[in-house]
């Protein structure tokens, strides 16, 4: 049945074990050694990168709080239908008081109030205020509670309050994602937010469009610079390279604030224009606190990320190619467009991906110079992380952003080909 039996027994290694086994062991050892060598990095990446990102992403759907804080209420609410317009039965109120007394003991009720306040304004103070009174009730003896609770706060007599609790009692929710695309989770299913609260989709679009504008301006400004650097003698190029790298060594905030000084209405550029007489004193140009300011400042900040990959790709393009093209009758333009430019495309691709992805997640520069029309979706994410503490929504927005980037990366791979990207 095997080759080995035909040859009169398995082939043996020097120590007497079958060769196949011995080889497998040697290979396994080698693999283990390789794994041990990369293990520090692997564990580092896993602990400091993959794990935090995964847990942050999980927050966008995780919603155990209602069910954990009000376990009995949630069960009792199962049989209640908000659409009937009737208040829940006494059983729900009794369960609610029992749950609340336990929650108040553990100081969880205000947390729940904050959570539900994201969905229904007023829940935060409802839980905080009524908690002080419900604390004094004894679930075993003080019933019935329906009247008492409505007495404590008339919101307990509002169907909407119970509908919100029921709607958001699922352990895994799509609510944050719906919020992230200007919709909301309601008892009747997903619905659009009221028009005057729709902002996030608009910000996503704006982030993408402006990132694209910034990427294009980086290409326009960076390409000639990279070309000059690549075609100068090495020594001069190195000196000029310092100028490109210099911004890297300056704080991001300093560079952004410098643009403020330059672009504001009493700023350097306007002063010069007025002094020269190109602009009237009472009609100074508005160049900051708008999209223009954001594009200018971010183009400046991200330019090195475009120039460096283009430069290293252009360095590898032989000048003889251009000469050859010209010797065969090509004009300067044709030689550039048909020979040099296609060869430099991998550099543009690498630079564009870098700049675009960096700018999509930019936060501090738009915040400082963006005014009202130049802010990005990241500013909203920052608001929900640090001010409203709605980390679920922030996580959903972040997940969508990550999805969009991956989608664009995939599209880029299909159209241009990712193996066509070179960093040098």
């Amino acid at each position: 049945m095997t080759d080995a039996s035909n040859n009169g027994g398995p082939m043996l290694a020097a120590d007497g074990t079958p060769l196949k086994k011995s080889l497998a062991r040697a290979l396994r050892l080698q693999k283990m050694r390789a794994l041990a060598l990369i293990a520090p990095l692997l564990i580092f990446v896993l602990l400091s990168f993959i794990f935090p990102i995964a847990s942050m992403l999980f927050r966008s759907v995780e919603n155990g709080m209602v069910a954990q804080t009000l376990p009995m209420t949630v069960v009792e609410l199962q049989s209640w239908d908000a659409e009937t317009g009737d208040l829940p039965e006494e059983a729900v109120y009794t369960a609610f008081v029992t749950d609340m007394v336990a929650a108040i003991d553990a100081k969880e009720h205000t947390k729940l109030g904050t959570r539900l306040n994201y969905e229904q304004t007023g829940m935060s103070s409802l839980f905080r205020k009524s908690g002080r009174k419900i604390k004094k009730l004894d679930p075993a003896t003080d019933g019935p509670f329906k009247e008492q609770l409505i007495e404590i706060d008339k919101k307990f007599g509002d169907v909407q309050t119970w509908a919100v609790i029921k709607t958001h009692s699922v352990e895994i929710t799509n609510g944050y994602f719906l919020n992230a695309i200007d919709m909301q989770r309601t008892p009747e299913g997903a619905q659009a937010q009221p028009e005057d609260k729709r902002i996030l989709i608009k910000l996503f679009q704006r982030t993408l469009i402006m990132s694209m504008i910034i990427t294009i301006s980086c290409i326009m400004l960076g390409y000639p610079v990279a070309w000059i650097l690549a075609n100068l003698p090495a020594r001069t190029a190195n000196v000029l390279m310092i100028l490109v790298l210099l911004p890297f060594w300056t704080s991001l905030l300093v560079r952004t604030s410098a643009w403020k000084v330059m672009l504001q209405q009493q700023g350097v550029i306007n002063e010069v224009l007025v002094w020269v007489g190109l602009v009237a004193d009472d009609a100074r140009l508005v160049m900051i606190n708008n999209q223009f300011g954001t594009v200018v400042a971010m183009t400046h900040i991200l330019l090195p990320f475009m120039i460096l990959p283009m430069y290293s790709v252009m360095q590898t393009i032989q000048p003889t190619y251009l000469r050859a093209a010209k010797s065969m009758g090509a004009t300067n333009w044709t030689a550039f467009w048909r020979v040099y430019f296609p060869l430099s495309v991998p550099g543009i691709g690498a630079g564009s991906i870098l700049v675009f992805i960096l700018s999509i997640g930019y936060y501090i520069t738009p915040e400082i110079v963006g005014g009202t029309k130049g802010v990005f979706i990241s500013n909203r994410i920052a608001y929900h992380i640090s001010s409203s503490l709605n980390w679920g929504l922030a996580a959903a927005l972040g997940t969508i952003l990550l999805g969009v980037v991956l989608l664009l990366y995939w599209a880029y791979d299909k159209i241009v080909g990712i193996d066509n990207v070179k960093l040098g």
């Binding site: 564990i43 103070s125 700023g267 802010v375 503490l389």
Partner: protein, 362 residues
């Protein structure tokens, strides 16, 4: 790998106890404000107890950071300076320790209990008030023409006072001022603002000056914009304006009309070891007594939160000017004031902020 992990564990184990030595980390806002706390509270406290105080200027992101620290079970801050609204949020989230004013804070020199001395300013169970500050407007005296603005509604009057204004890039205060200047009575403002129609009304009023507004997000923005002449008037914290006017001698004056009072104070995070918590409480007891609160007013123009401190407010330590007239609570400045409603904003902030941002983006 195992040895490596053990080594890592050993290093962390060695590093951790060192932090508990005679050191405490106090978090505040940085700048002139932290300096005033350093001179009024930290230095005397270190002298008295030998505890080294480490300053961390992280108050602006304190709520989120405290939550993250709490989730990681590694709270590295001992005492945190936050505004009252943040204290309420931290208290709700269970991230700040509840304080019993009478047993944990010093009584006034005349024996008045702490809870009475602070009075209404104890807006949350976890909050230890320190100063009263106000958000008000400053204007450029040389850019407003012959009649200086005297009413909050001059901010909305672009005909009489052309030029840009700076307002904070969030709905708080702006919505209230807009309603006040749209004919809503002062004590009805929050009732009106609680309705969608009221919110629309406020935004419609703000719409009339939207093209003339530069929106700020850092307290230092308006002073800088005023100094540059980018705006003719702008809202910010009164202490910032004090520094522009008295320390930098810029041609700026204050419009105290309809200033909005707010509170800033301390919280002690939950999840501290007993030893650290005891020390934090000891610090708080010291730093919020009557004399210490009055001392802080020597370095910055914010009013002490205790009633008993007010008579002790003296002169600025470096400038030598009387500080009382620069306090937001001074009768001359406080003719028309507006009280920030914490309960209201705790409920409505997310809702109104979404509308406000949508309106801004329009």
């Amino acid at each position: 790998m195992k040895t490596k992990l053990t080594a890592l564990a050993v290093t962390t184990a060695l590093v951790a106890p060192a932090a508990i030595a005679d050191e405490m980390t106090i978090v505040s806002w940085g700048g002139a404000y932290s300096k005033s706390q350093l001179r009024a509270y930290h230095e005397p406290y270190s002298e008295k107890t030998g505890v080294t105080i480490i300053n961390d200027d992280s108050s602006s992101g304190a709520v989120a950071k405290l939550r993250a620290m709490n989730e990681a079970n590694n709270v590295t801050w001992d005492v945190v300076d936050v505004v009252a609204a943040d204290a309420i949020r931290l208290c709700d989230e269970g991230l700040a320790m509840e304080i019993d004013a009478d047993s944990m804070l010093a009584a006034a020199p005349d024996g008045t209990s702490a809870s009475e001395d602070f009075g209404d300013l104890l807006v949350s169970d976890c909050f230890i008030p320190q100063i009263v500050y106000s958000t008000t407007f400053g204007y450029r005296t040389d850019l407003v023409g012959d009649t200086a603005p005297s009413s909050i509604c001059d901010v909305f009057d672009t005909a009489a006072y052309p030029g840009k204004r700076s307002l904070e890039k969030n709905p708080i205060n702006n919505m209230e001022w807009a309603l006040l200047c749209d004919g809503v009575a002062k004590d009805a403002v929050y009732d009106v603002l609680a309705t969608p129609e009221g919110q629309d009304q406020a935004l419609a009023k703000l719409d009339t000056i939207k093209d003339n507004v530069i929106w700020w997000s850092a307290g230092a923005d308006t002073p800088q914009l005023l100094a540059d002449g980018e705006v003719v008037m702008g809202s910010t914290y009164n202490g910032r304006l004090f520094s522009v006017i008295e320390e930098q001698k810029q041609p700026v004056a204050m419009l105290w009309d309809a200033q909005v009072f707010d509170l800033d104070g301390w919280i002690i995070p939950t999840g501290l070891s007993e030893e650290r918590q005891a020390r934090a409480l000891d610090y708080i007891m010291f730093a919020t007594d009557t004399q210490r609160l009055a001392d802080q007013a020597k370095y910055i123009s914010y009013g002490p939160a205790r009633k008993s401190s007010a008579p002790l407010v003296g002169q600025h330590a470096d400038l030598g000017i009387d500080m009382a007239p620069h306090m937001p609570t001074d009768p001359e400045n406080a003719k028309n004031t507006f009280l920030y409603n914490y309960e209201f904003w705790a409920d409505y902030r997310d809702d109104i902020d979404a509308k406000f941002q949508a309106w801004l983006a329009k």
